[in-house]
Amino acid sequence: MTRKLEMNNLKISPKELLINNLVPIMFICICVVGIPISGYSGSYLLNEILSRLGRNSFLVLSLLIPVMAGMGMNFGMTLGAMAGQIGLILVTDWNIVGIPAMVLAAIISTPISILLGWLCGTILNRAKGREMVTSYIIGFFMNGVYQLVVLYFMGSIIPIASSALVLPRGYGIRNTVNLEGIRKSLDNLIPFNIFGASVPVATFILVAVFCVVILWFRRTKLGQDMRAVGQDMEVARQAGIKVERTRLLSIILSTVFAGFGMIIYLQNIGTLNTYNSHSQIGMFSIAALLVGGASVDKANIRNVFIGIILFHLMFTIAPTVGRNLIGEAQLGEYFRVFVSYGVITFSLVLYEIRKKREAKKALEEAEA
């Protein structure tokens, strides 16, 4: 089965190759046209891209595991982001700083992520075939629970001592939490500059380790099972693989890593928007991955990095381009929101069309 697919891939026509890579090509065009208009210097852009590559890679990489298990883009990664944020709120309240604070936040986030991931995975096992829309709604649903915990329980049921965190009314966390204590503590752990741009070396090392872990994971028993489940659930079940359990584990792993990713992301940003930071992180991460040429059923590490570089070049230059072209920076901001959504829509449509075509082809072959 796999061999046959690969053979089909070899015989891909140039037109199909173009369609499959339309999104990255489009983005390269946008960037090539946009960069001169924006008027940004090379070193500024390099600095931006390096910093964005550092803070987003981990988040985007966390999406790869569910794709492997055939569950599509895990819109439920916002759940992990929420867990990471709860960890960060607590360590900030306890006055812990630096790398230990990040490690502790990660440790706190893990059980929360596991619980949320388990919940998400269990629900997704009941909604096979529409994992994406379901995980998307789970993100919204859990956002309500997150608000309940952070806005009503923290400071009343969960003790929060710091008056800088709690709203004046006595319970609930403020809109913004200052993460002064951990700001760039990982990025600047190993200082290094190149062409006037600072390189977050330690963050990159962590990302590299995660990449190696993913590559290793693909070869383990569980990783193989996941790929088998992703190929064909029924075949995998007949081969004696516990399909539900494998799918559940893939979501749990993704959620846990998304939590770590959120902590890395926020140490770079330096402030936590308590009620907003997590809400769109899934959408942006998925858009970045798709820009890198990934599709709903196929994504690898190369897609992650190409995607982040292209997507974030667009993200950085869009407001200035909008201002320089039309005199309205707001326009550029709307444009990048439109492009993010547009990319996801386009990739989803492409995936569904291809899936249908393949099913038709398989049917014809079976009949012949």
């Binding site: 829309v133 709307y334 569904e352």
Partner: protein, 352 residues
């Protein structure tokens, strides 16, 4: 023996009614019972509920055609809303007033709804089985695209554009002097705190009746057939794609009319990110009314909108009066998305 029969019967009743719907109905009843203790006026509560019912019912009705033709829940409602917004802004641009402005808004919105709906329908025909996710993102992309357009389109009525620049539409535009309240105040019943926006409800009833009649025409039954059994429908000579496109156009048009009715009551046109989150409440309302991913009736619309809007109006006031803590926003999020999750995970629908 009798006891077990009774138990079975009641279990069956609960099952057919749906456990979440039962819980939410009981919750709403409970809110009405404890309302007097929280110093909340029940009469004004009920009239608020009716007003909001009138505001939202058409938007919920817009779910029905697409569910019938098997396109699933219309998460792409923002597309219809955008057509409505185009109609509404054009009406104001040309300076219509009174009842005629409402009619003109609907009239202007219609061609947009038909064109956008046809395109949207053609797209959904190519992605059968994955409609809902794509619908969601079509809605979102179109909202983001229109954000750019609202800034660029050459509107120049001073009451609508930003004062200092002279271009670009404002975020919220008042419909006062145009169609504000033209339906709400038609045959309005007002007794003290108790008020009924008769005109709006009659208008909804009219549309619902049309929908009910349509579903019983030859085309309507063909549409339902396409949704429930596409293979059978094809065999009996019905074009699946055409029926689906027609249903999407209908849904989109109803979305356009829905937002105009909403503005008529609400008083403002909300542009830019305004339509962004309007699909979710409508989707969860119809599900709350007992609809599922592939089955929806007019009764589902009425019951669902009443329940959903009832919860939305009663929770904040009762909660505030009782515990001085406004958790209504959280309850709204959990109830509406919980309802959608419940529908997505129900076993009998997983087959499709």
């Amino acid at each position: 023996m009798d006891a077990t029969v009774l138990k079975e019967k009641s279990l069956h009743a609960v099952k057919s009614f749906g456990l979440p719907r039962l819980i939410i109905t009981l919750f709403l009843l409970l809110l009405f019972i404890i309302a007097p203790f929280a110093n909340v006026n029940i009469a004004s509560g009920i009239s608020d509920m009716l007003t909001r019912f009138g505001m939202n019912a058409v938007l919920v009705l817009a779910m029905v055609p697409m569910v019938h033709s098997g396109c699933g829940l219309n998460f792409g409602l923002p597309l219809g809303i955008i057509s409505g917004l185009l109609g509404a802004t054009l009406t104001l641009e040309f300076g219509y007033t009174g009842f005629s402005s409402l009619m003109m808004a609907i009239l202007f919105a219609t061609p947009f709804a038909i064109i956008l709906g046809a395109g949207y329908g053609a797209l959904l025909n190519r992605v059968k089985g994955g409609e809902m996710m794509i619908a969601t993102y079509v809605g979102f992309s179109s909202v983001a695209f229109m954000c750019i357009m609202w800034l660029l389109l050459p509107y120049d009525n001073p009451s609508m554009v930003w004062g200092y620049a002279g271009t670009g539409l404002r975020t919220t535009i008042s419909v006062e002097g145009a169609y504000l309240g033209v339906l709400d105040n038609f045959l309005r019943i007002q007794i003290g705190h108790f008020a009924v926006p008769t005109g709006t409800i009659l208008f909804f009833a009219f549309l619902a009746l049309l929908m009910w009649l349509f579903l019983r025409t030859k085309t309507g039954t063909a549409m339902t057939a396409v949704g429930s059994n596409p293979i059978f429908a094809t065999a009996s000579g019905v074009s699946v794609d055409r029926m689906r496109t027609l249903s999407v156009i209908l849904s989109t048009w109803l979305g356009a009319v829905g937002i105009i009715i909403y503005e008529q009551s609400f008083g403002f046109i909300q542009l830019y990110m305004g339509p962004f989150n309007m699909a979710m409440p409508a989707v969860s309302a119809i599900l709350l009314g007992g609809a599922s991913v592939n089955k929806a009736s007019i009764a589902n619309v009425v019951i669902g909108t009443l329940l959903f809007q009832g919860i939305l109006t009663m929770t904040p006031s009762v909660m505030n009066g009782l515990i001085q803590m406004d958790v209504s926003e959280v309850i709204r999020i959990i109830v509406s998305n919980g309802m959608i999750l419940y529908a997505l995970t129900r076993k009998q629908e997983a087959t499709r």
